[in-house]
Symmetry: C2
Subunit: 229 residues, 2 copies
């Protein structure tokens, strides 16, 4: 069987993607040591595509995380080490086209070469099938890495932490109620109560938005929780 | 008229975009100094969207530039100074929602605040209308900045430089011909001739691909051109 067909077979079986233009994927897997055209331009494009896919995923999944936390999670997922690991799990190295020198020195297992090829592959998916195709394939490939992701405890907001602590003990969830809205339309102050019925706990706090007031009230309850453990 | 309607009018008239969810655009234009929700998360998303739009544009327009040149051009276009200038040209500052302190100190004209709001706007466009909508609006807004872009002469490839020099003198374009292809399938060497008929010039060069051989032949002709000026 010809290389082009084999490569298409791998894309179909390992990535669930049927390429329209297999030559594009051949280029995506050609390292510059093998001459021109190679995957350097596709890598630049794929880096941008992957960046968007990952940021949107994080944006939607961690809907109360601030941009600093999202940015740190993104950096972790698209790091060279993380991408190389994913490339290895797809057995991408066997499809790399390398110059003789790189081949001799194990370039098909080098982290940067694998990570860059995965980005170039993402660029090829984008050009070949559009953003939805690239997103579907890449999120599936990133799946295990994404599932392991968790906001570090200190980055979780108070409402999330309180909810998780109560759930872990089988207690019913806290209830938030607005008890007052004061001030002019553009300088409103919200007063909100957070109540944890099974513990007979209640705290009231204020904030410049409903969400801020709820977070502040949850933080007060958290601070007063009995020492479990 | 209510602010929401006025904002929608501005989006329609200045950006040619009809928002489905105007509240998203209100958030995109709300600086963190004005409380929460603000535009910080949308800015992170929009930065990734804009990055992809600009990289794809450069990838398609400069189809013989290497990734280093493309990367430098991208950095130039998405720099804070460049984005702030574009935001100012759209009169975006008037729609910013700022805290009292920022308002007093001229925050609506501060470069970083304008640039970040433009990125957040791009994020809102993406969530509201998808990548095609964001691309259309942003490329139109970036238009003048993109038109001024030129690959620095030293970054242009030899074929492009030769073609531009000949065109500037009204001479017909060079002709490239493959004169030999030698070697095994995976180690082929191409020999190509570049001929400039009106100057009776011809050069032959080799390369590991047709394109490389053409570039090398063009470079030889360039080096031998008479000193025009």
């Amino acid at each position: 069987m010809e290389r082009g067909e084999q490569l298409s077979g791998w894309l179909r079986e390992r990535l669930g993607y049927e390429p329209r233009n297999p030559a594009l994927f051949h280029t995506a897997l050609t390292h510059r040591s093998a001459g021109s055209p190679n995957n350097e331009r596709l890598e630049l494009l794929g880096d941008a595509v992957l960046g968007l896919i990952v940021v949107q995923y994080l944006y939607e999944r961690f809907d109360s995380a601030d941009e600093g936390s999202l940015s740190r999670l993104r950096a972790h997922i698209v790091s060279g080490a993380s991408l190389a690991q994913i490339a290895a799990s797809l057995a991408l190295g066997q499809w790399l086209v390398l110059g003789a020198g790189e081949l001799k020195t194990g370039g098909d297992r080098r982290e940067s070469i694998l990570a860059n090829a995965l980005e170039a592959l993402c660029g090829a998916l984008y050009l070949d099938g559009g953003l939805p195709a690239a997103r579907e394939v890449m999120l599936r490939a990133l799946g295990p890495a994404l599932e392991r992701l968790e906001l570090p405890v200190e980055l979780k907001d108070a409402k999330t932490r309180l909810q998780e602590l109560l759930q872990a003990r089988g207690l019913s969830l806290p209830r938030y109620r607005i008890v007052a809205v004061e001030g002019a339309l553009h300088a409103q102050v919200f007063r909100v109560t957070c109540e944890v019925e099974p513990l007979s706990m209640r705290a009231t706090a204020s904030g410049s938005s409903r969400r801020r007031a709820e977070q502040a009230a949850a933080a007060l309850v958290l601070a007063r929780l009995p020492p479990w453990g």
